[in-house]
Amino acid sequence: MDRRRFVAGSAATAATAATAAALAAPPAWSQEVYPSRPVSFINPFPPGGAADVVARPLAAVLEPILKQPMVIETKAGAAGQVGAQFAAAAKPDGYTLLIHIVSISGFAEVDRLYGRQVKFTNDDFIPIARFIADPMVLVVNDQQPFKTLKEFTDAAKAKTNDLIFSSSGLHGALHLPMALFLKAAGVDMKHLPTNGGGPALTAILGNNSQVLCSSIAAANVHLRSGKLRALACFGAQRAPALPDVPTMKELGYNIEFYLWVGMFAPKATPENVITTMRQASKQAASDDKFVRAMKNLGQDVAYLDQPDFKAFWDADAKRVQEAVRTIGKV
């Protein structure tokens, strides 16, 4: 009920656990009980990024459940590749886990495209749980006349005005869904890559670009103020936050794309560790505090346990890889 009491509680347990761990020499059974020391979550993006804002509230609710401190370790770089590679190479003992987003499936494909050595593939990770999945939304700014996706595609095809779409970077999470849509619609458009979700949004608000695929959470404030207009949503169903915006499927494009955040362990992590983390994640995902923190971010918790997450991830990886191939080498 009260967030203060909850955090104070979790801090206290964390502190007690840490003290206990520090005082007692590691007992013989320490190999069997997981976790017996702090667990690190690798956040592969800069602080405040998509993975970070989920990881921090999650760590706060996981601490009292697992009775160990959960540490967020930021290893940003190369659009999330550095952190993912670090986690893939980490000792598979369950003390280094990864929080990553939809773009995790694209790195291997991009490396193959450029003839670089593939650093890791999806097989290097065991999926544990998915926490949120925000459908992407295609938005235009308020200086564009388009009210529907059809008006927009027609104008883009006719090239009556020079339309530009911005993105968070080449092959980034905001570029991939746009590439899928452009291919499906048979439209060619100029691409303005930037170095992050924030700059991509700044570009469209300043009319330096006119179109953007954004997560609903990031665009919502500007949709409400009328600075941006949503034309289509990339979810399977209409999003609760945007009930009036049709989905791509309704409009005849068979495209789905989500900005999701999930937890992964390096492959060969012991089964008992995975089980413990799955149970803890399940409990955390339904925790009031976590749900409220996500709600505040404009997200609904879209929890999936391992089997469902695995199936979702496999399907999602195909979408991502197809998008990367569609974009091709620039």
Binding site: F6, P47, D52, D162, K329
Partner: protein
């Protein structure tokens, strides 16, 4: 009058004892984080973010913002005392601040930095109070072409920055620009000069380079110098700046405040650019430009004010539009979001007590920082009395830990150590490392915005002149270049005079 009612509401929130405590905590942590090399406001805020989950939104943002602007105060301390930029934006302070310290005016430099920061911070908050929404919309018009123009202006100013010869400055700047090309090409996805080291994918970090070149380079070159022996502890009266020093710092502080605020509101620009520009401007308008690099008061007052005003200016797009201008404001925005207070145009109307409480807390926070930093000047100066044999190993340790913590990357530590050796060599051959750092800051952004502009115009270069803001900025560049060409033709360049005196000495 509405604004006074709003501010009154804000102060009623900011003066609540519990809010005051969190503002103080934020300022304290910010000062500490700013002082430690490497650990910047970004690390400080993200580490403390989970702690704020138990607080209400106002206290959380007041504390986290305190860390941010507090770090701009703290960053100058190690720059002045040890030539180590505690925070990236303090690079310029290293040059003249450290030179002042060598002359025994460390206390004066610290006091001027603190007061300048206070004036600039307060100026920034006043501007934020009065003109945030219209300014934010103006700032949005800063697209890639305008940004390109701003950076070209920065490069033109660069020529004025040199404390040595122009050729040496340009060599250093070119090396910096080349180093800035390392990493993934944002437009095409190719790795450049990365040798398959994935950590180099995002380029070479600014913090390891700055800490290595300035701090480590200085420490490494100490053994080969004649050791000065004991630093005489200054008497208290000598800690404070003299009347003349105060007088010399009035105008630089004023110019730095305005310049910093303007650069700060531009989305995507870093306050480090504000401090570079301020330094160049001060040197340009100074009657005694040859003093720069040898302990010019204006060289401390200007940049220190500019980086503080810029950190306040960065709040304009964040609060008014919900757009983060840099990594630090992105974390602050995430903090607000997690607390259920989405920043953006509706923030003022939907959460007035958060918005105005936050603004008011910045007035209070700046006062607190002044009160916190001025008395500490005497204490900090005493650090210089620690014998080098004990002090320097400690500093090297702090540098390594701090640089590692930025990205938890061992590659960054190697870069810092290598840059330390480079910095040593540069000192031996009397090269100024500041243009190198500026080149490194400018190169990636300059390249990106230049190429973005050309994407927008389908390769048509007139885009840089047909857009009004970009056109005006380029016109300023043109005037500056023409002026310097003129003065060169008249053979009255101060650099020549400087060169003459130098050769005369030899």
């Amino acid at each position: 009058m509405e604004i006074f009612d709003n501010l009154l509401l804000g102060f009623s929130v900011a003066f609540r004892p519990d809010v005051l405590i969190y503002a103080f905590l934020g300022c304290l942590v910010g000062t500490l984080v700013g002082m430690l090399p490497g650990i910047g406001p970004l690390a400080g805020i993200s580490i403390l973010l989970p702690v704020t989950f138990g607080l209400d939104a106002t206290k959380a943002i007041v504390m986290l913002a305190g860390i941010y602007y507090g770090s701009q105060y703290g960053g100058s301390t190690t720059s002045i005392l040890m030539r180590i930029p505690g925070e990236a934006a303090s690079v310029m302070t290293c040059i003249d601040g450290y030179a002042m310290a060598r002359k025994g005016r460390a206390g004066a430099a610290l006091a001027i930095a603190a007061v300048g920061s206070f004036v600039a911070g307060t100026f920034g908050v006043i501007m934020l109070t009065l003109v945030a929404p219209p300014l934010a919309n103006f700032a949005l018009r800063f697209g890639p072409p305008e940004y390109t123009a701003l950076l070209v202006l920065g490069l033109v100013f660069l020529a004025y920055m040199s404390t040595t010869s122009l050729a040496r400055t340009l060599i250093m700047a070119c090396v910096g620009l080349l180093l800035g090309c390392i990493g993934i090409d944002v437009m095409s996805g190719h790795f450049r000069y990365a040798f398959d080291i994935k950590e180099l994918g995002d380029g070479i970090g600014l913090v390891p380079v700055a800490v290595g070149l300035f701090g480590l380079g200085e420490i490494l070159s100490t053994p080969s110098k004649t050791v000065v022996g004991k630093v005489v502890p200054p008497r208290f009266a000598e800690l404070m700046p003299s009347r003349q020093e105060w007088r010399q710092s009035v105008m630089p502080v004023a110019r730095g405040s305005v310049l910093g605020f303007v650069v700060g509101i531009v989305p995507g620009s870093a306050h480090i650019i504000a401090s570079f520009l301020s330094y160049a401007v001060e040197k340009r308008v100074s009657k005694t430009p040859e003093e720069f690099g040898k302990g010019a008061v204006a060289g401390v007052a200007g940049p220190e004010s500019a980086n503080n005003a810029a950190s306040t200016g960065a709040f304009v797009p964040m609060l008014a539009l919900g757009l983060p201008t840099g990594p630090v404001t992105a974390v602050l925005m995430a903090a607000l979001l997690i607390h259920g207070v989405p920043p953006g145009p509706q923030l003022v109307t939907e959460h007035p007590q958060v918005f105005w409480g936050f603004i008011a807390s910045m007035y209070v926070g700046n006062l607190m920082l002044l009160a916190l930093n001025l008395p500490l000047v005497g204490l900090f100066v005493r650090v210089l009395q620690i014998p080098y044999a004990y002090l320097y190993p400690l500093i090297i340790m702090f540098c390594i830990v701090g640089v590692y913590l930025v990205n938890n990357s061992i590659v960054d530590v190697w870069i810092m150590l290598i840059m330390g050796l480079v910095g040593y060599a540069l000192r031996k051959f009397h090269f100024d490392p500041a243009p190198l750092v500026l080149g490194l800051v400018i190169a990636p952004t300059f390249e990106l915005s230049l190429r973005q502009s050309l994407v927008m115009s389908s390769g048509n270069w007139t885009i840089f002149f047909t857009r009004p803001i970009a056109g005006v900025l380029f016109a300023i560049c043109g005037v500056l270049l023409a002026l310097s060409a003129l003065s060169w033709l008249r053979q009255k360049d101060w650099r020549e005079r400087l060169a003459e005196t130098e050769t005369g000495k030899k």
